[in-house]
């Protein structure tokens, strides 16, 4: 043998490679730990000065007043309102598209339309923000004026609608995957009993795919909750209790971006307040991820 590939050398190289691969994969864990560590430790400094009870129960967020109050509720109402509007747009549209693509469209149509729709999720969110502020809001203002509703230039309605359009691909694409995973034999059984495609879709396919569909909706929802730029551009920055989608209001994320845009001195209460808001956001998204996981397990049909 000319080249000396002794067993030992090979094994050493293999081991180095394997350790390298492991380190790369372990970075995922480090990121999660890093996010939780930073958010929790900085938020802890905030809660050393502001009582968690005030944070959870007060309905005003006025960090710049002489007697500042730090209640997360106004920011949460903003987030929930925008998310609600987004879901009201994305769930029906996404669901219709998913059933159409999975049960009615032929393979060619599906293979063309699905990637085209996925482009909706690829548009940079700041571009969506511009679209919400300068295209959707004026249209809504003209539509609502005859009804006697004067829509402000910044509002959560247009931000929410555009957010809904953005998450359509998440809901449509993942629901469609779930429906297509339902075995063909179940559909054929239904057709054999004389059911139409529509009846089969709603009474056989959708119930069988429900865990996947719910998972898709929750994924879309957590996208909407964490979305920043659309609401920061089109939703306004005024922190207030939001009771109607036609109001302007800041979301948790929009508030964080707004504070970060100003030059904040490190270690001040204002600086730490964005981490408290971040903690609320983190808890919310982890909660939804967990609920999605639980629902999927609970209602999964295995074929």
């Amino acid at each position: 043998m000319e080249r000396d590939f002794t067993k030992k050398r090979l094994r050493l190289g293999e081991q180095i490679m394997e350790s390298l691969l492991f380190v790369a994969a372990f970075i995922g864990v480090l990121i999660v730990v890093g996010i939780i560590y930073v958010v929790v430790s900085e938020a802890a400094k905030f809660f050393a000065q502001v009582s968690p009870i005030e944070f959870l129960t007060s309905t005003t967020w006025t960090p710049l007043f002489e007697n500042p109050e730090y209640g997360i509720a106004p920011l949460l109402t903003g987030t929930f309102m925008a998310t609600l509007v987004a879901l009201a747009v994305a769930v029906p549209l996404g669901f219709l598209i998913a059933i159409y693509l999975s049960e009615f469209a032929d393979a060619r149509t599906r293979e063309t339309l699905k990637p085209a729709l996925e482009l909706l999720a690829a548009v940079p969110t700041v571009v969506y923000g511009y679209f919400a502020l300068l295209f959707v809001t004026p249209i809504l203002q003209n539509l609502l004026r005859p009804l006697g509703i004067e829509l402000p230039g910044f509002n959560l309605l247009s931000a929410g609608i555009v957010m809904g359009l953005m998450i359509i691909p998440y809901i449509a694409s993942l629901s469609e995957d779930a429906m297509r995973a339902v075995p063909r034999s179940m559909r054929e059984g239904s057709y054999a009993m004389g059911a139409t495609r529509l009846e089969t879709a709603f009474r056989v396919v959708v119930p069988a795919a429900v865990s996947g569909i719910v998972g898709a909706v929750i994924l879309g929802m957590s996208r909407a909750i964490g979305e920043t730029m659309i609401v920061a551009v089109a939703g306004g920055t005024q922190v207030q209790m939001v009771t109607s989608p036609t109001m302007q209001g800041a979301t948790v994320t929009a508030f964080m971006a707004q504070v970060a845009l100003g030059d904040i001195a490190w270690g001040t209460l204002e600086y730490n307040s964005i981490f408290a808001a971040g903690l609320a956001l983190l808890v919310l998204t982890l909660l939804f991820n967990f609920v999605a996981f639980w629902l999927q397990r609970r209602y999964r049909e295995i074929y």
């Binding site: 549209l93 159409y100 482009l119 690829a122 940079p124 730029m229 971040g278």
Partner: protein
């Protein structure tokens, strides 16, 4: 059997139940609804592009790409923004691609079934659902506040090293690049895993049977076949990083940058006039100083308004003003050095667009739309390429 036939034989147990025509009609009507929903989705894309072209299409000139932003929208451009985006994305790619691919290979080919693997799997799956702004918070806490401050590094490291390293972090291109890399890591990992998983077991067994080691098998026989799938994931991840705004705002991406990332505060090309306190406010408000300018540039006055200045002129500038010299492309190439640009402050296209969108004057909205068009064109092009690759892949390989 027709509907009419149903009606003629009442009570026939082999007949369709009543109302078949209605049921069939509903069935067809649903297709209309499905198509309407699809058209709304696709129509959004068309309306989006139409709106941007209509508002800002006429501003897309060569000068728009070669000019710095300015307080005068008529001459403002995206030079510092696209250069910043490019440098940040290069950093992101250099960090995310190797780590993402190696991690994906580990999870698919190497990972033993143990609690650590489970933890990695849970982490990667959950990271995909974490809002991007939280990645920004983490980077703000770690790369800006801790690693960007030499006093907060490990004390036993030599001071020279700590200072040099802290210079690279902080509100820099390196920090931005790493932040976006961590953000898109799950995308690349998941794509790599799927691609590696789709390579049939026989390929591995064949290589192992003739004496190849595990890594040799992976490197020479699994990876090449998985490559198109991996590339698709990488393109999608990079295009996502390109459009991200929120995390970079959190780590302090600037909204007005009239210099290329070759200069930074403290360098000659970025100069503060007079003594200022830690917040940049003049120690003696109202005092002025006579300054001779030796480069074309912009002066940011203490009230944040901007004043263009010309080389060779002398100006009376109030204390607290910042002189930002406009570096030419030639200057940038001349003083090129990776350590310098990695540690430089920056802006990126999405932040520039956001800044212009939030100004009230309609002229700024025009250039915001033009910047949006550039951004949209690049991201849609990248995603289109990824979709095409995926399509080719599905057609070409039949195991």
């Amino acid at each position: 059997m027709t509907v009419a036939a149903d009606a003629e034989i009442p009570g026939d147990i082999t007949a369709h139940p009543p109302g078949l025509a209605t049921r069939r009609f509903k069935d067809s009507a649903f297709i209309v609804w499905g198509i309407i929903a699809t058209i709304i989705g696709l129509g959004t894309l068309v309306a989006l592009v139409g709106e941007l072209v209509n508002d800002g299409g006429h501003r897309l000139t060569m000068a728009f790409f070669t000019s710095y932003p300015s307080s005068d929208p008529a001459i403002a451009g995206i030079l510092s923004a696209w250069v910043g985006s490019l440098l940040v994305i290069i950093t992101t790619a250099l960090v995310a691609i190797p780590i993402g691919i190696l991690a994906g290979i580990y999870l698919e080919e190497y990972a033993p079934k143990n609690p650590i693997t489970t933890a990695i799997e849970i982490a990667v799956n959950n990271l995909a659902g974490v809002p991007s702004i939280l990645f920004g918070l983490m980077s703000l806490g770690i790369f800006v506040q801790i690693l960007g401050n030499p006093d907060r590094w490990f004390g036993f490291l030599p001071a020279g090293f700590r200072n040099a390293a802290a210079d690279m972090f902080g509100q820099s291109i390196l920090t931005a690049g790493i932040t976006l890399a961590l953000l898109i890591l799950p995308v690349i990992i998941v794509a790599t895993r799927e691609a590696v998983r789709s390579v049939p077991q026989e390929m591995r067994q064949g290589a192992l049977a003739v004496g190849a080691s595990k890594w040799q098998t992976t490197q020479h026989h699994v990876l090449p076949y998985a490559l198109p799938g991996v590339v698709t994931g990488v393109i999608i991840g990079i295009s996502r990083a390109l459009g991200e705004t929120a995390p970079l705002i959190m780590i302090g991406g600037l909204t007005f940058v009239a210099f290329l990332p070759i200069t930074r505060p403290g360098d000659a090309a970025f100069e503060v006039i007079g003594a200022v306190d830690q917040y940049g406010a003049p120690v003696t408000p109202g005092a002025t100083e006579s300054v001779r300018i030796d480069h074309d540039g912009v002066v940011v006055l203490p009230d944040f308004s901007e004043m263009p200045v010309q080389a060779g002129q002398t100006y009376d500038l109030p204390h607290g003003s910042t002189v930002q010299f406009v570096a030419s492309l030639g200057d940038a190439v001349e003083s090129w050095s990776p350590t310098r640009w990695l540690g430089s402050e920056f802006t990126v296209l999405p932040i520039q667009m956001f800044n212009w969108t939030s100004r009230p004057q309609p002229e700024f909205l025009e250039i915001a739309a033009a910047a949006g068009l550039v951004l949209l064109f690049i991201t849609l092009l990248m995603n289109g390429t990824a979709i095409y690759l995926r399509y080719r892949l599905r057609k070409a390989i039949k195991w």
